[in-house]
Symmetry: D2
Subunit: 346 residues, 4 copies
């Protein structure tokens, strides 16, 4: 059995990693660590994870993390680097935070500030990288940077068209409907249920969202000569889920058949990516709890734009599912082990 | 007192017109008519409108509508023309449906199909029309076509920039988060609470939504030489509200200060349009029950786009509030009579 | 005009008092005060109250509260006494908190702890007190204690049956579905949207809720020789609203006709209390934003119990509406001034 | 492999049975049948069940159901009997509907009307039946009647206290918060998202709900000499989940320690029933997607009542999970095969 520790275990990302690991046939859950909740009963924080309810949350120290084959970091950005530095090189460290995603130190400085912690292999197996896929880079890796949840939704929605040269990439526009768990368990007034129930509201409007350079980095790998994107996330009253509407100007003379062919070609063999049949549109409800992205495309001839809509569960395909999928690849397990394409609906 | 009848009184739009009329100091509520619900107790359908609870719903006939100064039509599109034809010319008829909004018969044929019922004065008082506003065209009108709810949100978000020439209008992109009441009280599976709770999903993707030509018509009046828009509405789990994220490529050399100045200039005197202070973003929660649009703008320099976000209550500013505001103008009453800028939150 | 100050103006109760006062024809809104938010722009906290958006929140001091005819206190319990003590006797002080509701110091000690601040006239005009109603005690009052929101729902549901002797009062059972705004704007993990969306959960189970002695106090006034009640509130995913299911063992030989007659008799003349027609059940949606309680009763002959269901908006009839209604009575204004029976739905 | 057919496969109960069966290691999913949706693509109705998306829904006929080891019936009540009559005796038939739950034909006549279809072994393995549990009666069964979802929540909440004689059973009171999926995929106005979002409302109040005699039947088996219960379900804005607050008068001299001991004794070995530690209360969120009931108890000494709160997922422990658990028992598989105690939260 693979022994796995999770830091940030009482937060949403850490809890979701654990939810998946508990159904993973090759994994034994080891240390559960956290900062402010250390010392308390785990079931108080994650009552849905019954098999772990009576565990006590440990502090995040080299000692508590010692003796594990894999360590998942589910920490606020900026905190991962220090923890990772204390772990041996042969331990697989999977960072669900942002610290090791970006390749450009300038991007890090521009969007996050402070010193860049360095770049780790990027945990999006389906990312198109030239004639290959990113999964090749994950085999045998001992450090993995899990993508941002919004980044995953937008990248998966656009990359087949980008890679096939069907769209211009210098005027992308993406608007997302986001569930609240994407904001984490932070105590902020605008995250209260009273505020969120019945309301839709945007955040990080106008180009400031930290996921923007990561999307550009991905689409560049997928073949875009240059990427500019207008990106607006909006909070809507659901706990989980991202519905990403991402559009791009069509290249000259591209019709819907060519677009569908490109998506079928790119995703037909992907176990977790599902192009819906014509006429059916994604709903986040169908992806809840599953590691799937459900995707649909339409060509708006009047507007000259490709419209793609991608639904994912931000905590699964957007975070913990990608993390486990990357773990499988890094350790040489079948990629789909412990992951499901079946959602919980209604 | 002005005697007012409402057809489609047991639906959502009709109910909202009545909610506003009950607080209107110059109005007496007359006939409440409907089709399938005729003969039943009104309170069974609209239990929130207590003062009318014991009324009996009448059938929609020339007799039941006779003797009123104003008749509101809250009917499915295609039904308004026949009812209106039976009403005297001096009765003010306000159509909350789509039948009389479009000026182009070709647009009607393309997006709705069937015969075009003709064009009535358009009930968006704040629409910029050259150097004037649409309210001038509503004074003394006896027929008014109330705008579509999505149209209102997108038009109000973009028109100051369009009118001031700050943006290109041939590659607009709008994505909306929509509450379920916009779909009416129709019995369709995807409108069930079980389906909608916890889900976000798009509809009418790819250029087919009927509000598209109406947006183009408005922005053309506001000064656009030509309009093309990619428009995607999405259902999110709220009963009311529209949050419209509408973006446009910036013209050369335009900065945020110029944009803010244009919006302040256009909306500074508008009683129901509110440009939020810098740094504050709209939430639909703040507009619930109110006839306001709350608007914010940002210039994304990297992306070269203006991003506007507009929040309205689809049933008030998006429908019934615009209808009552237009009634006030048509009858020569103060425009704000019976309407509020105060929302119900949280 | 009556000049009114509101303390705790940036919280939910204070905001709702202001929402109602802005529509009150005799009131001028004076000072808006608060503690931690003092010095900030009011619109940042209550963006739905547009007419006050540009006000600056003041600190709660004798100076800022001076010169007002009425002061509403919307503060956590324990804080009202000190503020009230600094206000002149001829100023009408209306406490939305719990400090002055209970008549028994023992009850205060048992449920709240600490020293009892004393008892003020109780702001539930419809409370049956022997052959009279509580509104008589509010005429000319200069201190008013606004009831607890749950207390209002349960009291209004049960008191006609209690007063008419139709039920036993020693084994009452009430279970409530509560919207999140009842918990205030406090930053607690279980109040986050991520936690609350899609979840139902109880709190203060087993007899510890502070509203229990207040219900008993009310029903005793209504004629109960002795009151014991099992009371369980539950949080459900809505921002506002209380649906109270309150049951009582029927006295011997009581049938539904007698029960309905008692409720019609008790509430037939009450402007804000509405016994629904047979077969129609309350929904909180119909009371949103309104000062109404919608009530229905059923006799369960097999179970030998009267079941009453009462829907209110916790922030209106449950708090701010009761406060304004009491203000009207205290100042000799018509009781319904500035209050509505019309809800905002759907 | 066990070959399984599901009738009513496009409804909520049928879909959930399939969701669980797809993760069951011993099961092969055979025919998917339905009535009005026959002939259509399955993925159109249950887009979350990706592995079955391309199946075509068959009609429910003896031919389509032939050749299966197990047939699940997820049909409206009244329809199961006719389908079951056509199936061989050695096929395991599991009825998720109400037709075969009640033992008393009089109860059937009183609450459902029409002819009673007969009684099948009752699919609640944890039901206390004298000194045994109901699971004994399920071993080898070829007909199983799955309990009603509300019945499961209330029975599990009360039966340890009933069996241990700690409470009186002649004045039980239960009030439930229910998610909308319990009402099925029926097209009714009050089930629309617009109606349900932000609203709480009761139904079947006053003793008419069909689950009442079934609760009484269960608690009688658990040892109650006589059962009367006041039972009120309420719809709240969530897709799934039941939170049942069920109370009973305490017998003389019973304290909380005795109560906890009885629940620990009754449920300590049950794989799917979880008595929470003192101070922690159930939330439906923790049970979403899981076959667990999370239970807590409190003794209200002032009120003389035991208060129990039980959270389940109505579609899992309340329906499909109980069905699969019963299948396991009937076929001699380990009872927990294919079922999880891990919920999906937040």
């Amino acid at each position: 059995m693979i022994k796995v520790a999770v830091t940030g275990a009482t937060g949403y990302a850490g809890g979701e990693v654990l939810r998946l690991l508990l159904s993973h046939p090759e994994v034994e859950v080891g240390a559960l660590t956290a900062a402010s909740t250390a010392g308390s009963r785990f079931g108080q924080h994650q009552p849905h994870l019954l098999p772990l309810a009576d565990r006590i949350v440990a502090e995040t120290t080299p000692e508590t993390l010692a003796g594990h084959d894999v360590v998942f970091l589910a920490l606020p950005h900026g905190a991962s680097g220090a923890v990772a530095a204390q772990l041996p090189d042969d331990v697989l460290v999977i960072d669900c935070g942002a610290d090791h995603r970006l390749e450009s130190s300038q991007d890090w400085a521009d969007y996050y500030g402070g010193e860049h912690a360095g770049t780790w292999p990027y945990g999006m197996p389906e990312l198109i990288t030239g004639s290959s896929r990113q999964r090749a880079a994950l085999a045998g890796a001992r450090r993995v940077a899990v993508p941002g949840c919004n980044v995953t939704a937008v990248t998966l929605g656009l990359q087949p068209a980008v890679a096939a040269g069907l769209v211009e990439t210098t005027d992308l526009v993406a608007v997302l409907a986001n569930g609240y768990s994407g904001a984490g368990k932070s105590l902020k007034t605008h995250l209260l249920a009273s505020e969120g129930l019945g309301a839709a509201l945007p955040y990080a409007v106008g180009g400031s969202h930290r996921h923007i350079p990561e999307i550009a980095q991905n689409l560049t790998k997928a073949g875009a000569p240059e990427v500019t994107i207008s990106f607006t996330p909006t909070l809507v009253p659901m706990a989980r889920g991202i519905l990403a509407t991402a559009t791009a100007r069509l290249a000259e003379g591209i019709d819907e058949a060519q677009v569908r062919a490109a998506y079928e070609d790119a995703y037909g063999d992907e176990p977790f990516l599902h192009l819906l049949p014509e006429g059916q549109w994604p709903t986040t409800a169908a992806t809840l709890g599953a590691n799937t992205a459900q995707i649909q495309v339409a060509v708006d001839e009047r507007a000259g734009r490709l419209v793609t809509v991608t639904a994912i569960d931000n905590l699964v395909k957007g975070t913990a599912g990608a993390a486990v999928q990357s773990m499988n690849l890094a350790l040489g397990l079948p990629e789909t082990t412990g992951l499901t394409t079946i959602g919980v609906a209604p």
